[in-house]
């Protein structure tokens, strides 16, 4: 009887070890989707790197100019769009002036989508922000890091007009803004190339500007060396970074809400890893015994 049971148990472990990946996909789908129906708020501890980004913006006096480069596409929207909205809320709440640009074609569009969302807030509406005075969208320019390098000498060389075709000289916000010397901070949201790394290499290292960033979770670890050396004031990493930023602002938004979903998904992956290892060790033990 024992041997038969051992045979049954053995096959269960072997089945688990070679489980159809679609079963794993199903569990992940449920783990991500179901928590979205629950409005559970989790306490989000803030990391020093996220604090650095928040502080870089918070320390700017009213009227300071921030160059915001949106270098991502819709694929990275779930991670970076909450950061974009939180950034605009932070900037407008503190009466900062925002110069939007993009090294990715979709970037300036993503900025417009975030602005549309943020302009629904009552406190932002009350400020009656005006295009060209409080914010401007320069649009996209091809050229990757060459654009970053060129802007160090002159914004107008890379962006003679804004995204709507108005010459820079006719935009009140851009008067007196010649190059990086005339902006107080660069804020970059990046999902790949060109992105934060290029901003560090071509703007910070060459022109000594201050830079704070938000990256996807996959890319953020690669920015830690730059934070440690002071080349980057701080970096927000993925949805958690967005949640940390919203927590610091005191305006919990989508990122905080979605963290429950992410937490459950992580737990499910850990559960599968445990099951996989149990199966692996069980089979290895039986092979050694037999």
């Amino acid at each position: 009887m024992n041997q038969e049971n051992n045979q049954e148990v053995k096959s269960i472990w072997e089945k688990l070890l070679s489980i159809d990946r679609r079963i794993i996909f199903l569990f992940i789908a449920v783990a991500v989707a179901v928590p979205l129906f629950f409005k559970l708020s989790m306490r989000i501890p803030v990391t020093p790197v996220a604090q650095g980004t928040y502080q870089a913006i918070e320390s700017l006096p009213a009227g300071s100019k921030v160059l915001a480069s949106f270098d991502y596409d819709p694929g990275s929207m779930p991670e970076l769009q909450p950061m974009a909205e939180a950034f605009f809320r932070h900037a407008f709440r503190n009466d900062l002036k925002v110069i939007i640009m993009g090294l990715w074609p979709q970037g300036p569009l993503q900025a417009n989508i975030a602005l549309e969302e943020v302009f629904q807030d009552e406190d932002i509406k009350a400020k009656s922000l005006q295009y060209g005075i409080d914010y401007v969208n320069l649009g996209f320019t091809a050229g990757n890091e060459v654009v970053i390098d060129r802007m160090g000498h002159s914004f107008e060389e890379s962006y003679p007009k804004d995204g709507q075709g108005t010459p820079l000289s006719e935009i009140p916000l851009m008067r007196g803004v010649r190059n990086y010397d005339n902006v107080d901070l660069i804020f970059n949201l990046s999902a790949g190339y060109p992105g934060t790394q290029e901003w560090v290499q071509y703007a910070v290292d060459v022109f000594h500007v201050k830079l704070a960033a938000g990256n996807t979770a996959v890319q953020a670890p690669a920015m830690y060396p730059y934070v440690q050396t002071g080349q980057l004031s701080g970096v927000l990493g993925g949805m958690k970074g967005g949640a940390e930023y919203e927590t610091l602002l005191g305006i919990p938004g989508r990122a905080v809400r979605y963290m429950f979903s992410q937490a459950v998904a992580h737990a499910v992956i850990c559960m599968f890893i445990i099951i996989g290892n149990l199966a692996f060790f069980s089979i290895r033990k039986r092979k050694k015994t037999s």
Partner: protein, 325 residues
């Protein structure tokens, strides 16, 4: 104090214009919009919630062409040392001196992968990354493609190279054609072996996934610069049972390739591939030169860490190498 405004004029008494600002606590401002040999006067205006206060005009200053940027002297010296090391080892290799290069498992496995595809009668799919020819990783990927194409020609295996950029398509076609000619199989080459899909990252990934699922290749090579699509491609290829040899210098994508692929060329192993595969002394020499650079960095890091440790434990006033470099 909320900040400073920097004002400039070519006249000591009047005509000052705002050229920039500085945060509270800042002690310098760099003016990069000057004309050479023109005298400028500067004033600093301090701003606070209670009003402003201006400094007296500075003495006249003028800029002139700097023939050498001394702020980059350390970088210049380092670059010179590494370049000289590379040149030295290249000339040393040309004289016939043997240079030892350790085995790179991923490159050793190329022959096996191509052989497997031939035995199974299934395709080899080679993906040279999603970036353009201005990326060194793409160049490295195309170099390895030459080797794989030559083997595919010799073994009569089917090779397909779907690419994401038009310039890469042109280069890959030249490389594969040359490889087939060198293998003595020019008749087996066809321009349609290398074809363009789309520039869009996820459109490209979707097209490749469809290709893997329909054609079930025996071997998949992922060599070049990849981003988020790397795991999508690697997992899909794994699901159809293909042997996978990946190589990238993207630190963020390496963990995915290591987890999902059979062999992975990590970081600079990808750049070493052209030297490793060709065994060309000149290229092997450049690899050794690289090692000199690595040795210098290692030495500086060790000495720097030692200095910092001695400073904090014994209070010695040793220099902080981070400020020196």
């Amino acid at each position: 104090m909320t900040g400073y405004e920097i004002l400039r004029s070519t006249n000591r008494e009047e005509g000052y214009e705002h050229i920039g600002g500085a945060a509270p606590g800042a002690t310098y401002f760099s003016d990069s919009n000057t004309e050479n040999k023109v005298k400028y006067f500067y004033r600093v205006r301090a701003i606070s919630p209670w009003g402003t206060s201006e400094s007296l005009p500075s003495n006249p200053v003028f800029s002139r062409v700097q023939w050498f940027d001394f702020s980059r002297l350390t970088l210049f010296a380092l670059a010179l040392i590494i370049a000289c090391a590379i040149f030295y080892f290249i000339s040393s290799a040309k004289t016939g001196k043997k240079l030892f290069i350790r085995k790179i498992a991923g490159l050793e496995a190329v022959d096996d992968a191509v052989g497997r595809a031939t035995e199974m009668g299934r395709k080899i799919i080679y993906i040279p990354g999603i970036m353009d020819m201005d990326s060194m990783q793409t160049i490295a990927g195309v170099t390895i493609l030459g080797r794989v194409a030559k083997l595919a020609a010799e073994y009569e295996a089917k090779l397909e190279v779907p690419v994401s950029k038009s310039l890469v398509m042109v280069t890959c076609r030249e490389t594969v054609k040359e490889a087939y000619i060198n293998a003595g199989r020019p008749d087996a080459y066809n321009d349609n072996m290398v074809y363009y899909l789309t520039d869009d990252q996820f459109g490209y990934a979707a097209a490749l996934d469809g290709l893997f699922l329909r054609d079930k290749p025996a071997a998949v090579f992922l060599q070049g610069q990849f981003y988020a699509e790397s795991l999508i491609l690697a997992e899909t290829a794994n699901s159809v049972g293909a042997i996978q040899i990946a190589g990238t210098a993207m630190p963020s994508q390496l963990p995915f390739f290591v987890a999902a692929c059979d062999y992975t060329l990590i970081g600079e192993e990808l750049f070493a591939a052209s030297a490793y595969l060709s065994k060309d002394p000149k290229l092997l020499g450049s690899l050794k030169g690289q090692d000199v650079g690595k040795f210098i960095f290692l030495l500086v890091i060790l000495v720097g860490v030692l200095f910092l440790t001695l400073n904090s434990v014994l209070g010695l006033g040793l220099p902080d190498l981070a400020t020196v470099f």
